[in-house]
Amino acid sequence: MLSLAEWSAIRLTAELAGLTTVLLLIVGTPMAWWLARTRSPAKPVWAALVAMPLVLPPTVIGFYLLLLMGPQGPVGQITQSLGLGRLPFTFAGLVVASVIYSLPFVVQPLQQAFEAVPERTIEAAATLRASPWDRFFSVAVPLARPGFVTASVLGFAHTVGEFGVVLMIGGNIPDKTRVLSVAIYDHVEATEFAQAHRLAAGMVVFALVVLVALYVANRPRREVRPA
């Protein structure tokens, strides 16, 4: 039913979204924790920087990333001097771009979840001999669990759905950078509406299933109170 090229696009999309989500959880967790707990006057500036991808057109992000990672860009110079070559129009470049593009979708739910962890509960752990790392992993992370679920799902789903940044940074190279959203665009361009439908409808179903699963997972537990 699906062509080899289409399966390749689906696999590539899943890999990109999976890798991006993992990287974002690693990078985003300390950022979210800092934003949730800091009393620094610089907090609004950092919060705004994290939120930028929400409001900027993807093409703007893609354009500047292209300049940054290009042969003359500072990031490009570093990657070339490290022998990594250039990032634009490679899978690695797509991952870097996706991490930046999906950053707020991971950091913000985590930040909200960490903010909901009461300070006094963290302090209680400190008075029970838990070191700062210990408190983080034994109290903050379990209590922020719904935030981690939301962050993972939104980070993954948003990366699957990106288009503008992919086109700017990755282009449209089969097996390397042609992800689902680009493949659908190609089909539409070529007026292959049947093929476009198959992929597009698949995306709709995917999005719906993922969101329903998310809401089920984060359903508030029914509290049992003594009579």
Binding site: T127, L128, A130, V224
Partner: protein
């Protein structure tokens, strides 16, 4: 000894205290809201960074002069707050185990079974915190703190969030804690009832400073402090149950042999049991001769030790020495004048109400 010298400038008030507290029994930090008592407690725990020095029995927890600050998780403390702050993702058993498994085996002087038993929470171990009542939650929080065998137990208004019934449910456990474990307790409260019942030592605070401190009985008998206690000014007396009158359901409480004994409602305590009594100043009246034809059964013979003005200009406070004990009476200045009361004068103190506290 627990020694603390703490200075913390804050908007609205500045904390500046020097404390030297006994390393046994219950020390109450008492004062109005916002007087800095919670800040002192948090600084002892290392949760708040005040400038100064904190030493517990030779162990230096903070010494700014030597740039030493032991973080909270390395201080051997138990800390209990008003909201209990149980871990909502763990059941009661795991809440109790949380601190226990983080201390070295050599430090475990109190067995978990003993703590569970002491606080009567054996039937709650499988429950989750959100299913517990306020009183149960507070007992679990206290047990969780004790399970780490702390050298010092810090309690910040542990009963303030509970209604009278729940308070009455938790208080006996605090008494037992006091009797059975030799852990010094620093107890923050704005309830003079809790002070009178639980404390051995009292630190009176106001506006970031220590007004006075000392052993409880002596502090409550001072005439220069009752303003802080308001309408509930009064003394506590430590005594034993000396006799029980079954016919009238009364118990005789001997504070100082025959020199100071009082009758109160018998609450079923056996003869010989140590008890604490509370006698409020407003429940004590003075006469120059023993009275007959009065409904008040408790008349103590003593002599006037001090007279002072009370907060309201119509009232005076009189301390009467009765054997080794002292009671304080609150009278109008007109009465004091009419009776020509003077220091050294023998008087009879009529005590209308005696509250038996344990």
């Amino acid at each position: 000894m627990i020694e603390a010298r703490l200075v913390l400038p804050r908007r609205g008030f500045a904390l500046d205290v020097s404390l030297s507290l006994p390393e046994r029994g219950v020390t109450a930090l008492f004062g109005p809201s916002g007087c800095g008592k919670t800040t002192v407690l948090r600084a002892l725990a290392g949760l708040e960074r005040a400038a100064g020095r904190v030493v517990l029995g030779g162990e230096v927890w903070q010494d700014d002069a030597a740039s030493r600050f032991v973080p909270t998780h390395e201080r051997s403390i138990g800390y209990v707050i008003q909201e209990a702050a149980l871990f909502p993702h763990l059941d009661v058993r795991r809440n109790l185990a949380y601190g226990l498994k983080r201390i070295a085996a050599a430090e475990r002087r109190i067995a978990l079974d003993q703590v569970v038993d002491l606080l009567g929470i054996g039937h709650l171990l499988e429950r989750r915190p959100e299913t517990l009542s306020g009183g149960e939650r507070q007992r679990v929080a206290i047990a969780r703190a004790l399970a780490t065998s702390p050298r010092l137990l810090l309690m910040d208004e542990p009963l303030a969030a509970l209604d009278a019934q729940r308070k009455a449910e938790v208080l006996p456990y605090l008494d037992r804690l006091h009797e059975e474990l030799g852990i010094p307790v620093v107890y923050v409260t704005h309830s003079i009832d809790e002070v009178a019942r639980l404390a051995d030592h009292l630190v009176l605070m106001d506006a970031g400073r220590v007004l006075a401190d000392g052993p409880l009985a002596g502090m409550l008998a001072r005439l220069d402090l009752p303003v802080a206690f308001g309408d509930d000014a009064g003394v506590v007396l430590d005594g034993v149950v000396g006799d029980r009158d079954e016919r009238w359901q009364l118990a005789r409480l001997d504070v100082d042999g025959e020199a100071c004994r009082l009758w109160a409602r018998d609450q079923g305590l056996p003869v010989g049991r140590r008890v604490r009594l509370r006698v409020l100043a407003r429940d004590v009246s003075l006469t120059r001769t023993p009275q007959t034809g009065t409904s008040i059964g408790n008349q103590l013979r003593g002599s006037i030790e001090a007279i002072a003005d009370d907060e309201h200009p119509a009232l005076a406070l009189v301390r009467v020495r009765v054997g080794s004990a002292a009671v304080v009476a609150r009278l109008t200045r007109r009465s004091a004048h009419a009776l020509e009361l003077a220091v050294g004068m023998p008087v009879w103190a009529q005590v209308k109400t005696v509250a038996l506290m344990e």
